[in-house]
Subunit: 133 residues, 2 copies
DNA sequence: CTTGACCTTCGAGCATACTCTAAGGTTTAT
DNA sequence: ATAAACCTTAGAGTATGCTCGAAGGTCAAG
Protein backbone atom coordinates (compact mmCIF):
# COMPACT_ATOMS: atom_id res chain seq x y z
CA UNK A 1 0.00 0.00 0.00
CA UNK A 2 1.08 3.59 -0.51
CA UNK A 3 1.91 6.08 2.16
CA UNK A 4 -1.43 7.81 2.48
CA UNK A 5 -3.21 4.53 2.74
CA UNK A 6 -1.01 3.50 5.61
CA UNK A 7 -1.43 6.93 7.14
CA UNK A 8 -5.18 6.60 7.03
CA UNK A 9 -5.09 3.06 8.37
CA UNK A 10 -3.09 3.96 11.44
CA UNK A 11 -4.46 7.45 11.94
CA UNK A 12 -1.39 9.62 11.51
CA UNK A 13 -0.21 11.82 8.66
CA UNK A 14 1.98 10.80 5.74
CA UNK A 15 4.33 13.58 6.84
CA UNK A 16 4.76 11.91 10.19
CA UNK A 17 5.40 8.55 8.57
CA UNK A 18 8.19 10.07 6.49
CA UNK A 19 9.50 11.70 9.63
CA UNK A 20 9.60 8.34 11.40
CA UNK A 21 11.48 6.94 8.45
CA UNK A 22 14.05 9.70 8.65
CA UNK A 23 14.35 8.97 12.35
CA UNK A 24 15.16 5.37 11.50
CA UNK A 25 12.00 3.85 12.93
CA UNK A 26 10.17 2.63 9.91
CA UNK A 27 11.37 1.92 6.41
CA UNK A 28 9.00 0.50 3.86
CA UNK A 29 10.27 -2.79 2.52
CA UNK A 30 10.36 -1.42 -1.01
CA UNK A 31 9.76 1.34 -3.46
CA UNK A 32 7.71 0.82 -6.57
CA UNK A 33 8.91 1.74 -10.05
CA UNK A 34 8.03 5.42 -9.48
CA UNK A 35 10.01 5.54 -6.31
CA UNK A 36 6.81 5.58 -4.28
CA UNK A 37 7.01 3.92 -0.90
CA UNK A 38 5.30 0.52 -0.77
CA UNK A 39 4.23 -0.69 2.64
CA UNK A 40 3.38 -4.24 3.62
CA UNK A 41 1.32 -5.71 6.43
CA UNK A 42 4.47 -6.00 8.44
CA UNK A 43 5.01 -2.28 8.05
CA UNK A 44 1.51 -1.74 9.37
CA UNK A 45 2.38 -3.83 12.40
CA UNK A 46 5.59 -1.89 12.91
CA UNK A 47 3.72 1.39 12.71
CA UNK A 48 1.25 0.18 15.28
CA UNK A 49 4.10 -0.89 17.50
CA UNK A 50 5.54 2.61 17.25
CA UNK A 51 2.21 4.12 18.19
CA UNK A 52 1.84 1.75 21.11
CA UNK A 53 5.26 2.86 22.35
CA UNK A 54 4.20 6.46 22.00
CA UNK A 55 1.02 5.79 23.95
CA UNK A 56 3.09 4.34 26.75
CA UNK A 57 5.23 7.46 26.87
CA UNK A 58 8.37 6.22 25.16
CA UNK A 59 10.41 8.71 23.18
CA UNK A 60 11.34 7.99 19.59
CA UNK A 61 14.84 7.02 20.71
CA UNK A 62 13.47 4.53 23.21
CA UNK A 63 10.99 3.30 20.65
CA UNK A 64 13.86 2.75 18.31
CA UNK A 65 15.59 0.56 20.87
CA UNK A 66 12.41 -1.43 21.48
CA UNK A 67 11.95 -1.89 17.76
CA UNK A 68 15.43 -3.29 17.48
CA UNK A 69 14.50 -5.89 20.08
CA UNK A 70 11.21 -6.68 18.40
CA UNK A 71 12.85 -7.07 15.02
CA UNK A 72 15.53 -9.36 16.28
CA UNK A 73 14.15 -11.04 19.33
CA UNK A 74 16.68 -13.82 19.57
CA UNK A 75 19.57 -11.41 19.56
CA UNK A 76 18.18 -9.58 22.58
CA UNK A 77 17.36 -10.44 26.16
CA UNK A 78 14.28 -9.73 28.21
CA UNK A 79 16.57 -7.75 30.46
CA UNK A 80 17.01 -5.09 27.82
CA UNK A 81 13.32 -4.47 27.34
CA UNK A 82 12.77 -4.47 31.07
CA UNK A 83 15.56 -1.98 31.66
CA UNK A 84 14.20 0.46 29.12
CA UNK A 85 10.78 0.17 30.67
CA UNK A 86 12.03 0.54 34.21
CA UNK A 87 14.05 3.59 33.32
CA UNK A 88 10.99 5.13 31.77
CA UNK A 89 8.93 4.39 34.84
CA UNK A 90 11.56 6.05 36.97
CA UNK A 91 11.74 9.06 34.71
CA UNK A 92 8.00 9.51 34.72
CA UNK A 93 7.88 9.10 38.50
CA UNK A 94 10.29 11.96 38.82
CA UNK A 95 8.26 14.11 36.48
CA UNK A 96 5.13 13.35 38.45
CA UNK A 97 6.68 14.24 41.75
CA UNK A 98 8.06 17.44 40.36
CA UNK A 99 4.65 18.37 39.04
CA UNK A 100 3.07 17.46 42.36
CA UNK A 101 5.44 19.77 44.14
CA UNK A 102 4.44 22.55 41.82
CA UNK A 103 0.81 21.67 42.35
CA UNK A 104 1.22 21.93 46.10
CA UNK A 105 2.99 25.24 45.80
CA UNK A 106 0.34 26.58 43.48
CA UNK A 107 -2.54 25.48 45.64
CA UNK A 108 -0.96 27.12 48.67
CA UNK A 109 -0.47 30.19 46.57
CA UNK A 110 -4.03 30.29 45.37
CA UNK A 111 -5.98 29.42 48.42
CA UNK A 112 -5.72 32.68 50.36
CA UNK A 113 -6.26 34.98 47.42
CA UNK A 114 -9.78 36.38 47.44
CA UNK A 115 -9.89 36.48 43.68
CA UNK A 116 -12.08 39.54 43.78
CA UNK A 117 -12.20 42.63 41.59
CA UNK A 118 -10.31 44.92 43.94
CA UNK A 119 -6.72 46.04 43.58
CA UNK A 120 -3.98 43.48 43.80
CA UNK A 121 -2.21 45.58 46.39
CA UNK A 122 -2.73 42.97 49.07
CA UNK A 123 -2.91 39.95 46.81
CA UNK A 124 -1.42 36.99 48.61
CA UNK A 125 -0.34 35.38 45.35
CA UNK A 126 1.75 38.36 44.38
CA UNK A 127 3.11 38.97 47.83
CA UNK A 128 4.09 35.35 48.29
CA UNK A 129 5.93 35.38 44.97
CA UNK A 130 7.61 38.56 46.14
CA UNK A 131 8.99 36.57 48.99
CA UNK A 132 6.98 38.15 51.80
CA UNK A 133 7.07 34.96 53.71
CA UNK B 1 25.68 46.20 40.39
CA UNK B 2 26.79 44.66 37.11
CA UNK B 3 25.30 41.65 35.45
CA UNK B 4 27.62 38.99 36.74
CA UNK B 5 27.22 40.22 40.28
CA UNK B 6 23.47 39.88 40.00
CA UNK B 7 23.89 36.51 38.32
CA UNK B 8 25.97 35.29 41.20
CA UNK B 9 23.62 36.72 43.80
CA UNK B 10 20.56 34.95 42.41
CA UNK B 11 22.30 31.85 41.18
CA UNK B 12 21.69 31.97 37.46
CA UNK B 13 23.92 32.88 34.52
CA UNK B 14 24.43 36.30 33.00
CA UNK B 15 23.36 34.77 29.71
CA UNK B 16 20.04 33.84 31.21
CA UNK B 17 19.57 37.31 32.64
CA UNK B 18 20.07 38.81 29.20
CA UNK B 19 17.65 36.25 27.84
CA UNK B 20 15.04 37.30 30.39
CA UNK B 21 15.59 40.87 29.36
CA UNK B 22 15.02 40.02 25.72
CA UNK B 23 11.87 38.21 26.77
CA UNK B 24 10.65 41.40 28.42
CA UNK B 25 10.83 40.18 31.99
CA UNK B 26 13.63 42.19 33.47
CA UNK B 27 15.23 45.41 32.34
CA UNK B 28 17.92 47.01 34.44
CA UNK B 29 16.90 50.50 35.42
CA UNK B 30 19.97 51.97 33.74
CA UNK B 31 23.15 51.54 31.84
CA UNK B 32 26.40 53.06 32.99
CA UNK B 33 28.59 55.25 30.79
CA UNK B 34 30.08 52.19 29.09
CA UNK B 35 26.69 50.81 28.26
CA UNK B 36 27.05 48.17 30.92
CA UNK B 37 23.81 47.11 32.60
CA UNK B 38 23.42 48.53 36.11
CA UNK B 39 21.07 46.65 38.39
CA UNK B 40 19.48 47.95 41.58
CA UNK B 41 18.05 46.23 44.63
CA UNK B 42 14.68 46.39 42.99
CA UNK B 43 16.06 44.46 40.05
CA UNK B 44 17.30 41.85 42.46
CA UNK B 45 13.79 41.57 43.87
CA UNK B 46 12.33 41.29 40.40
CA UNK B 47 14.77 38.55 39.51
CA UNK B 48 13.85 36.66 42.64
CA UNK B 49 10.20 37.08 41.77
CA UNK B 50 10.88 35.57 38.35
CA UNK B 51 12.66 32.63 39.92
CA UNK B 52 9.84 32.10 42.39
CA UNK B 53 7.43 31.98 39.47
CA UNK B 54 9.63 29.46 37.76
CA UNK B 55 9.76 27.33 40.89
CA UNK B 56 5.99 27.31 40.96
CA UNK B 57 5.88 26.09 37.40
CA UNK B 58 4.85 29.27 35.62
CA UNK B 59 6.07 29.77 32.07
CA UNK B 60 7.90 32.92 31.11
CA UNK B 61 4.73 34.25 29.48
CA UNK B 62 2.75 33.68 32.67
CA UNK B 63 5.56 35.12 34.71
CA UNK B 64 5.44 38.17 32.51
CA UNK B 65 1.74 38.60 33.28
CA UNK B 66 2.36 38.19 37.00
CA UNK B 67 5.18 40.72 36.85
CA UNK B 68 2.86 43.22 35.22
CA UNK B 69 0.51 42.82 38.17
CA UNK B 70 3.30 43.07 40.69
CA UNK B 71 4.69 46.19 39.06
CA UNK B 72 1.38 47.92 38.93
CA UNK B 73 -0.70 46.48 41.66
CA UNK B 74 -3.39 49.13 41.75
CA UNK B 75 -4.11 48.75 38.08
CA UNK B 76 -4.80 45.05 38.51
CA UNK B 77 -7.30 42.96 40.41
CA UNK B 78 -6.78 39.92 42.60
CA UNK B 79 -8.98 38.10 40.12
CA UNK B 80 -6.27 38.27 37.48
CA UNK B 81 -3.61 36.70 39.61
CA UNK B 82 -6.02 34.06 40.79
CA UNK B 83 -7.09 33.20 37.26
CA UNK B 84 -3.53 32.73 36.09
CA UNK B 85 -2.84 30.51 39.07
CA UNK B 86 -5.97 28.49 38.68
CA UNK B 87 -5.31 27.89 35.00
CA UNK B 88 -1.88 26.69 35.85
CA UNK B 89 -3.20 24.34 38.49
CA UNK B 90 -5.59 22.93 35.94
CA UNK B 91 -2.89 22.54 33.33
CA UNK B 92 -0.61 20.75 35.74
CA UNK B 93 -3.42 18.50 36.91
CA UNK B 94 -3.90 17.39 33.36
CA UNK B 95 -0.22 16.75 32.90
CA UNK B 96 -0.15 14.71 36.06
CA UNK B 97 -3.07 12.56 35.06
CA UNK B 98 -1.59 11.96 31.66
CA UNK B 99 1.68 10.89 33.23
CA UNK B 100 -0.17 8.67 35.66
CA UNK B 101 -1.88 6.93 32.80
CA UNK B 102 1.47 6.29 31.20
CA UNK B 103 2.79 5.10 34.50
CA UNK B 104 -0.02 2.60 34.84
CA UNK B 105 0.49 1.35 31.32
CA UNK B 106 4.22 1.00 31.87
CA UNK B 107 3.86 -0.82 35.16
CA UNK B 108 1.45 -3.27 33.57
CA UNK B 109 3.90 -3.69 30.77
CA UNK B 110 6.82 -4.31 33.04
CA UNK B 111 5.40 -6.54 35.69
CA UNK B 112 5.16 -9.80 33.78
CA UNK B 113 8.52 -9.56 32.07
CA UNK B 114 11.07 -11.81 33.72
CA UNK B 115 13.90 -9.41 32.96
CA UNK B 116 16.28 -12.30 32.57
CA UNK B 117 19.17 -12.87 30.20
CA UNK B 118 17.34 -15.20 27.82
CA UNK B 119 16.02 -14.31 24.39
CA UNK B 120 13.26 -11.78 24.12
CA UNK B 121 11.24 -14.15 22.01
CA UNK B 122 8.57 -14.46 24.63
CA UNK B 123 9.05 -11.10 26.26
CA UNK B 124 5.74 -9.79 27.48
CA UNK B 125 6.81 -6.19 27.04
CA UNK B 126 7.52 -6.66 23.37
CA UNK B 127 4.51 -8.83 22.72
CA UNK B 128 2.19 -6.42 24.46
CA UNK B 129 3.53 -3.56 22.38
CA UNK B 130 3.03 -5.72 19.33
CA UNK B 131 -0.62 -5.82 20.24
CA UNK B 132 -0.84 -9.48 21.26
CA UNK B 133 -3.53 -8.67 23.72
C1' DC C 1 51.76 47.72 27.56
C1' DT C 2 49.94 43.68 27.84
C1' DT C 3 47.16 40.17 30.10
C1' DG C 4 43.00 38.74 32.03
C1' DA C 5 38.54 39.58 33.33
C1' DC C 6 34.89 41.89 32.55
C1' DC C 7 31.15 43.94 29.34
C1' DT C 8 28.31 44.52 24.70
C1' DT C 9 25.29 42.62 20.56
C1' DC C 10 23.69 39.41 17.32
C1' DG C 11 22.77 35.17 16.06
C1' DA C 12 23.24 30.15 15.98
C1' DG C 13 22.50 25.67 18.39
C1' DC C 14 20.09 22.27 21.41
C1' DA C 15 16.27 19.06 22.40
C1' DT C 16 11.79 16.91 20.88
C1' DA C 17 8.35 15.61 17.71
C1' DC C 18 6.40 17.01 14.54
C1' DT C 19 4.23 20.18 10.64
C1' DC C 20 4.34 22.31 6.50
C1' DT C 21 6.02 24.32 2.05
C1' DA C 22 8.14 24.48 -2.39
C1' DA C 23 9.24 22.54 -6.57
C1' DG C 24 8.75 18.92 -9.21
C1' DG C 25 7.11 14.14 -11.04
C1' DT C 26 3.05 10.57 -11.74
C1' DT C 27 -1.48 8.63 -12.04
C1' DT C 28 -6.31 8.63 -12.96
C1' DA C 29 -10.53 10.21 -14.53
C1' DT C 30 -13.24 12.94 -17.60
C1' DA D 1 -5.71 17.49 -22.83
C1' DT D 2 -6.08 18.81 -18.52
C1' DA D 3 -7.21 18.87 -13.80
C1' DA D 4 -7.38 16.53 -9.44
C1' DA D 5 -5.07 13.81 -6.54
C1' DC D 6 -1.46 11.44 -5.60
C1' DC D 7 3.85 10.89 -4.90
C1' DT D 8 9.04 12.54 -4.16
C1' DT D 9 12.94 15.45 -1.72
C1' DA D 10 15.18 18.94 0.95
C1' DG D 11 14.72 22.13 4.05
C1' DA D 12 12.38 25.65 6.95
C1' DG D 13 9.19 26.63 10.79
C1' DT D 14 6.94 25.82 15.53
C1' DA D 15 7.29 25.87 20.60
C1' DT D 16 10.13 26.60 24.99
C1' DG D 17 13.94 28.08 27.68
C1' DC D 18 17.87 28.40 27.64
C1' DT D 19 23.14 27.99 26.29
C1' DC D 20 26.93 29.19 23.86
C1' DG D 21 30.15 31.47 20.60
C1' DA D 22 32.12 35.19 17.89
C1' DA D 23 33.71 39.67 17.45
C1' DG D 24 34.63 43.57 19.58
C1' DG D 25 34.82 47.29 23.47
C1' DT D 26 36.47 48.44 28.46
C1' DC D 27 39.04 48.27 32.54
C1' DA D 28 42.38 47.41 36.28
C1' DA D 29 46.68 45.41 37.81
C1' DG D 30 51.56 44.69 37.43
ZN1 LIG E 1 -7.81 39.85 47.06
ZN1 LIG F 1 -5.12 37.94 45.33
ZN1 LIG G 1 11.68 -13.07 29.96
ZN1 LIG H 1 10.61 -9.67 28.89
Amino acid sequence: MKISELAKKVGISAHTLRYYEKAGLLSPSQRNQNNYREYTQEDVATTKFILACKESGFSLAETSALLAIKDNKDQHACAEAKLITRNKIEEISQQISQLKNMQTTLIDLEKYCCGGPESAEFCTIISTLEGDS
